[in-house]
Symmetry: C2
Subunit: 256 residues, 2 copies
Amino acid sequence: MGRIISIANQKGGVGKTTTAINLASSLAHAGKRTLIIDMDPQANSTTGLGFDLESIDKSTYEMLIHNMSINEAILKTMMPNMDLIPAHIRLVGAEVELVNLEDREQMFLHAVTPVRDKYEFILIDCPPSLGLLTLNALTGSDTVLIPIQCEYYALEGLRQLLNTIRLVQRHLNTALTIEGVLLTMFDSRLNLSNQVVSEVKEYFKDKVFKNVIHRNIKLGEAPSYGKPIIIYDPASVGAQDYMGLAKEVIHNVLTP
Amino acid sequence: MGRIISIANQKGGVGKTTTAINLASSLAHAGKRTLIIDMDPQANSTTGLGFDLESIDKSTYEMLIHNMSINEAILKTMMPNMDLIPAHIRLVGAEVELVNLEDREQMFLHAVTPVRDKYEFILIDCPPSLGLLTLNALTGSDTVLIPIQCEYYALEGLRQLLNTIRLVQRHLNTALTIEGVLLTMFDSRLNLSNQVVSEVKEYFKDKVFKNVIHRNIKLGEAPSYGKPIIIYDPASVGAQDYMGLAKEVIHNVLTP
Ligand SMILES: Nc1ncnc2c1ncn2[C@@H]1O[C@H](COP(=O)(O)OP(=O)(O)OP(=O)(O)O)[C@@H](O)[C@H]1O
Ligand SMILES: Nc1ncnc2c1ncn2[C@@H]1O[C@H](COP(=O)(O)OP(=O)(O)OP(=O)(O)O)[C@@H](O)[C@H]1O
Ligand SMILES: [Mg+2]
Ligand SMILES: [Mg+2]
């Protein structure tokens, strides 16, 4: 049974897509069959892996709204052991189209069930909002990984995010737990970075991943070449950080 | 007649809130009566100016959904000439609550009209999405200011954003124009930054503001003290950049 992990935080630009692509590729590199599901209408996980949006006709949108089988949307990536369900701009309309449906929060859960046993990890790249797309992801997930940028506004949004997770746990998915809290874009030279780290560790205690992702320009360059960091620059700090994170996630799955 | 400017880009973390707070305070510093309207359920413009969300009972939510007069929600800020319409977490529900209303895209336009002549500039901090809150802001605005982070994914989302602006111009607000494109978090030492700048200038030509906002840690620190940069550290690069931008915006209004 594959573990389904939502990568969610309504704060924008905190490293959700960068984590989806680079954690998935590091898990794949460690031999784990991995699937990325791009649930964001911006489709950054899709383009960040080099796919051209113009050529995508089977995506998360058709899976959620037209009941298309998830198997029809699977794309092989350049990384062995790693596949992708692409997003498309059409997904912008899904939030409104889902509103008046009966099981509007459970469309993703029904869609993903057929491939649960095909992969050891399924990572969902969520949009920067707490709307129906993120609610669908959380309802269909085992756990949620929360990237937190080491900046002031990142702390502000946590209460809202935790409230939403609690609501999902109470009404839509009682088994949902927190996979972990990931500190991203950490720069040890900055007071602000260090302040945020100590506040997050005080609040989340052992839920904070030991592996921190440092600010590293290579992580910003890699998507412009359509490659995960482990292919673009395997010796970089960014690649080391995400490989460390993958080892920690694998360890946590094996020793709950 | 005050100029109403939406600050919009569905890409997360590109500097929408930082621009709303610091352009507004620089315009106020130049003697222009200015209003910030926080249209993002994250309420970062509200907390970034030192307001406590727990004490906010009249916000953008009540204005849009309960037809409350905008005058009831106006808060004075620490900056002379600058007021705020705060947001609240309740605004998360507005996207769904607006869906089934008759004039769902025009609720903001009706709400803001009574204060149009009270301010010379009205800036709207939009959420990182192209949903009904952003559509409301664009429908009720004269122009839209587009912050673009000097990173790869920032370019990806432009097509989607321009499509949405064109749709609004065609069906909801024929007078809407682009105020300008603002390059943010620019770091002249990085190739990626310079590449993005040249691509944006090629694409948008004279619509790109001459003033570029450099990456400057003081801009990240200021909101943790609840202050605009011009009060937190007036000698910083961040403060100089936003004051330069304010002069350019004022000049553009006077010489269309
Ligand atoms: N550790 C890092 N070091 C340097 N740059 C980074 C790092 N992580 C992410 N970035 C860059 O920061 C920007 C924001 O990251 P990303 O797009 O992954 O965030 P996101 O949370 O997915 O954004 P959105 O809310 O729009 O979906 C991107 O340009 C990305 O390349
Ligand atoms: N020029 C800059 N230099 C350094 N840091 C900056 C700069 N502009 C913004 N920041 C920081 O980058 C982060 C993202 O900026 P901000 O929150 O303003 O973006 P946003 O587009 O409003 O995000 P969202 O999409 O979540 O609304 C914040 O932590 C902010 O303090
Ligand atoms: Mg993303
Ligand atoms: Mg913002």
